[in-house]
Subunit: 768 residues, 2 copies
């Protein structure tokens, strides 16, 4: 049960939500959880990772490929479709253990026949260009069936149409679609081979927006007819001479291999994924299900095969948020990959090296040195974020927001991600391949951005937007300043290491250039950058200069002031901006990231101060409150935030509109946040170059938590119960690894399983 | 004619406007140009300089005294009033030569009698607590008259009521009103003595809101009856043991002196004022009239007798803008007083010394050293400016504006005013009395505010609001940075002078204190503060960082986007904020203030660039464009801006509402701007400690311009024609004075009249 996502019945209101909930994908492309008869009106999409297009001044966004899986049924001339037919039974299912989507629908025809349509499909984890789809049709009476299946070029576009000069052809039974993007002329090609019964009559026909096989066949009562579609997608960005030829060749090859063999190879990859990534929760089936679903969502969008793409904020579930990569990736998704599949983490961070020039251009645009990473990063690293992102519901005017220009913490988030990767893997080669350059350029950026205040004898960062976007253009945002200082300190430490390990790279980076800081300057600012301290009385860190001076209404009071349901609470005149109500975890995120720097009572004070002031207007927020609550030994405070995070794409309960902007889709940051809340939070996992620490705090519902990690090249199994922690180091590991469980150090040797009893674990019970 | 402001007929729509247009006053109080029968509904007000009150969290604002001039007439029981009677003739007049207000109204009673009511009044320039009012009544038929005259305590309040515990009494025929302000308990007392015909029957009666003489008298057809009212106003802030006793005593003494003698003394002071301040324009009666009217408006609000008050942005015409003193005073009013009555200029600048502690408190509130002057300054120097100043017309919500927190140029404006005073008077005593301390504290403030950017090797001023309030929170606003640098440079120069002239004061200011800059630091930042330079290609100075990146619609295009007539174009979401459209002169004001630092072609380039982008949403704006246009030899470009400035309080054509906020009243900054545009602009006058320069540029309409100035203790008459400039140094002057006319130096000795011919004067004609 915990591996199956299932919905019975059909509700047209949930089409959009199900598109995200039943997603399949493989990191190369995402296929929304739509049904075979759907087209662009139902937001069917084959979203391609790393392929973007822009038309005029409209928002630049990902390109959706033509849909090779469209299939329509007609019984005696009348269409059978959940949208407008009599449906006796309808089930939609996703098997997250093996990434297989299935549906079964029983239609009642006008003549009283029961026609059963079953279809399953998978986006191959083994062959990244391939989607396979097997469907069967069965009727309890003879029915004259018309089956139309082929490639639907009516592509869902928010700011499209992105594909021009579409050509639909057939060549020896293989259907093809080929088109080019408007901006860069990227070729997008789709091929489809169909295998089915030899009966009936078939023609190939052009439709308004595609090409189909049209098959006329009389279904014999009681018989089942089966078809298989082998659909391949290539673009000219792929490593293939000709995208169209490659797609045709791939589909034909798949046809030869056959569905079952393809499925088996696909399942084997999934098996490996779960072997590395699964988390087991005992005593809480709902949590178990939601967490596995969250992990599934991360695995279907992971860039396992490319270091040129990263993970967009809405994964591969469409074009929302411009298909752009935000800080979400480093801060909320990276830890999962880092601890379970560091090779993918490496790809994710190498993406930042490949987009470094874009970040340099952005810094230069604003008059700074170094690298100012895009708030919304696409293929080139230039910022896709626009200056006007939201429509004012009161005037209909575009609203100026300061996401692009002022969210400078993005460069620190990138540097942080790189350093985390380096700490956990010891992969010096990665630093040499570009990681070091990125960190250094980010440090240079902060040096250029900071101003020195001689009376205070410190550098400050003015005019920034922190994670809490309801308060734009603030001074000395605590999160930003700590993160920037971290970047500067990391840069210094890195350079000290490079001086020994990679003297050439060291010399190249540290080399004196006109108008750029040297290592000595970075060293100085790293020590002199102001970071706000906890208040001596209350322990609370002020989110930014003068935040405490703002009005302090309750969240309820604030919400009572809302005049229009979708009005934006931030921006120029938003009602939250002049109050202490914040959109999402900001100081509290700091408590998580720098958990070793703050005493438990400080973390608790900040959690208790900021939690009631947090609107959680971002899906990134609840998991952070869960993490810090666990850290301070309050797992039952954490639990509701964990649940909210882990179920977001199951329930579909998230903000769907800001102003008139649709922001739905999957939430990979929350998916990653769910894993973090479980493993880093309740599991209390924290690793660095020296040791792996475990300070577990299981919520009352849970009797045990099991997970796997990989640290510095070695794999470990961890199982936490209310009584003890068992650490298993497989025999394949190379060397002993220091662990520290609740402060007690333990060395675990390859082939060994060590159990440490938990005496200090907080008793169950107590809720917030 | 040019000395008389006159309106015939009565239009209820113009009551508010006429209240400003027919103002009288003497710097101690202002009396709005309302009619005798008016009360608070018609915005009758006796606005007291320097007396403020606040109720709860409502805006703090000036206190209006009870109105001692209320007079109501009843003929056979029916009230005679312009508001609701048959009026055959009505004239309202103001004689600006001598500050006398008059009205004449002919009523037709129900019985067909013509009753003529004539009244004249003046707020004494000689006795500052006194208002005298003489009125006559005449009827062409016998009429039973009831006359009610006394003190009306129904005071116009915007955020009142400010007066509590009002007591109305009569003592031996003198009516009195006494009350206290709510916040500080300031006593406000009014006394009235009445002289009139011995006939008829009189009683003293309390009304709902005051006390009156009620006189019953049968007017004999053809006879004229005369009354005189002597009204005195005192507060407990005045130098008197008891405000009420002082008021009674003042009124009785005035009664003894008699109206004619009081009027004569009053007129003598006016004569002196005009002897010092008049400007004569030949060939343009309308301009002559408007300019004299502007000068009149300045004279009736000038703090001639007190250095504890300055001039509010709406003069003494009511409570608009909280009766607060803005930068308007130093930048737009001070030059008039400086060049004509430097004693008043001294009072105006000493006000800043008396409010220095308030400015220190404001600086400390925001975490800075030194003096951060109030954007809206009242009695204590604490900032009366609120954080929410405007109501959003779309939501009805208060709108956060950044006038109070970010308009740091105010401290530079104050320092500039002091230095201008010092340069033109050589009054070292003023520096010692506090001027030096103010300048030094302003310099310390800028030192604390500025951040140093090592890569650029310069200090910058981030997050400020310049004069153009449509663009709040900008970086390196050119105006602000130049003005701040000026303050720092002035501070250095001043300290160098004080070291010689006032070593004790020098030592006190320069003394090393923990956490405060010394002279050396101020010297350094004075040289290292960034000031934006003219673009090498275009000569245009960017108003602030990235201003040129903003959208560049025409003013017309922008205005076409307006959805609601009173919507505010600035603030969080204002439509001007994301464009290059500016509210008022900003860079161009810089061109005026630092006219010697910029080449004519730079001034012209900036004028031509910014003028089409200026909405002139502030009454401070047009005069600046007039000044710079004259300076670059384009007086005919200047002329319409001069006219617009000089006529603002005559026509009443100015913005009356921003959001739902009423902002009407008189415009002393524009009044001062009119004088500046005429004398500093067309006259081309510019003086400093070395010499007086004259670079005239008369507009086509004008054949001559004559004015008087006082520079470093000596008076001069200047007369400019199209052919020459005649400078007369009266025999009473002590020493020769260097003049420079169009670059040619001339020494003018006492008793001498020198005429310099103008060869280089730009030919008339040509308009923009």
């Amino acid at each position: 049960m915990s591996w199956i996502v299932r919905e019975e019945g059909f509700d047209p209101q949930r089409i959009t939500n199900h598109g995200s909930k039943f997603m399949t994908g493989n990191g190369y492309m995402g296929y929304r959880g739509t049904l075979e008869e759907f087209s662009k009106e139902q937001l069917t999409a084959v979203t391609l990772a790393g392929v973007y297009d822009q038309i005029g001044t409209k928002w630049r966004e990902p390109v959706n490929a033509p849909n090779g899986l469209r299939t329509r049924l007609f019984a005696d001339g009348a269409e059978l479709s959940v949208l407008n037919s009599a449906v006796e039974k309808h089930v939609q299912e996703l098997d997250i253990a093996r990434g297989v989507h299935a549906r079964e629908t029983v239609y009642l025809t006008e003549d009283g026949a029961r026609v059963t349509f079953r279809s399953e499909r998978f986006v191959s984890m083994d062959q990244l260009h391939l989607i396979a789809n097997r469907f069967t049709i069965h009727s309890d009476k003879d029915v004259r069936l018309t089956l139309e299946t082929g490639i639907d070029g009516g592509v869902w576009d928010i700011n499209g149409p992105h594909l021009k000069e579409a050509a639909y052809t057939s060549y020896e039974g293989t259907l093809t679609a080929a088109a080019s993007t408007q901006e860069l002329g990227i070729r997008v090609a789709v091929a489809e081979c169909l295998a089915g019964p030899q009966e009936g009559q078939e023609e190939i026909a052009a439709t308004e927006d595609g090409i189909i096989h049209r098959i006329l066949l009389t279904l014999q009562a009681g018989s089942t007819y089966e078809w298989v579609k082998y659909v391949s997608v290539y673009t000219s960005l792929d490593d293939a001479e000709d995208a169209l030829e490659a797609a045709v060749s791939s589909s034909r090859s798949a046809l030869n291999t056959g569905y079952d063999a393809l499925l088996q190879s696909h399942e084997e990859v999934w098996e490996q994924h779960w072997a590395l990534s699964d988390v087991e929760i005992e005593g809480d089936d709902e949590a178990q299900h939601a967490l596995r679903f969250s992990i599934y969502q991360l695995l279907i969008i992971a860039p396992a095969a490319s270091e040129k793409v990263s993970i967009p904020a809405r994964g591969l579930s469409g074009q929302v948020y411009k298909g752009a990569v935000f800080w979400d990736t480093e801060m909320f998704m990276l830890p999962f990959f880092l601890y379970t599949q560091p090779e993918i983490a490496r790809n994710i961070m190498m993406y930042r090296k490949h987009t470094l020039d874009g970040a340099r251009r952005k810094a230069a645009e604003y008059g700074y040195n170094g690298a100012y990473y895009a708030w919304e990063s696409q293929d080139s690293g230039d910022d896709a974020c626009t200056l006007f992102n939201i429509t004012d519901v009161f005037t209909g005017r575009p609203m100026r927001t300061y996401f692009r220009d002022k969210q400078i913490h993005i460069s620190a988030d990138v540097a942080h991600g790189i350093w985390e990767y380096y700490k956990l893997t010891g992969d010096t080669g990665f630093l040499i391949d570009g990681g070091a350059e990125v960190i250094w350029e980010c440090a240079r950026f902060f040096y250029a951005y900071a101003g020195y205040y001689p009376l205070k004898r410190r550098y400050e960062l003015l005019d920034v937007t922190g994670p809490d976007e309801y308060h734009e253009r603030v001074h000395n945002n605590a999160f930003t300043n700590y993160m920037a200082r971290h970047t500067l300190r990391v840069a210094v430490q890195m350079m000290d290491e490079l001086e020994q390990q990679a003297p050439e790279l060291y010399a190249k980076l540290a080399g004196e250039r006109e108008g750029t800081p040297g290592l000595q300057e970075i060293r100085e600012i790293a020590e002199q950058l102001y970071v706000p301290q906890p208040d001596a009385q209350t322990g609370v860190i002020e989110q930014f200069d003068r935040y405490f001076q703002l009005e302090d209404p309750s969240l309820q009071e604030l919400k009572a002031r809302i005049l229009q349901p979708n009005e934006y609470l931030g921006g120029g005149n938003g009602i939250a901006t002049t109050t202490q109500i914040i959109k999402q975890a900001d100081v509290v995120l700091l408590m998580h990231l720098f958990k070793d720097e703050f005493a438990p009572e400080i973390k608790k004070a900040n959690w208790e101060f900021y939690e009631p002031r947090t609107e959680h207007g971002s899906s990134l927020s609840p998991c952070v409150y869960a993490l810090v609550a666990s850290d301070i030994g309050m797992p039952d405070w954490a639990y509701p935030y964990f649940k909210r995070t882990a179920t977001i794409d199951l329930t579909g309960d998230s903000k769907q509109y800001v102003g008139d902007l649709y922001i739905g889709g999957t939430h990979p940051a929350a998916n990653g946040g769910a894993w973090m809340a479980a493993v880093l939070g309740f599991g209390g996992l924290q690793a660095d170059e020296r040791e792996v620490r475990l300070n577990p705090a299981l919520p009352s519902e849970w009797s045990a938590l099991g997970f796997k990690i990989r640290v510095r090249g070695q794999a470990f199994d961890i199982r936490i119960t209310r009584e003890d922690v068992r650490i298993t180091s497989p025999a394949g590991n190379a060397s002993e690894q220091p662990f520290r469980v609740e402060g007690r150090e333990t060395l675990v040797r390859p082939g060994q399983s060590v159990t440490v009893s938990l005496k200090g674990l907080a008793p169950a019970g107590g809720s917030h």
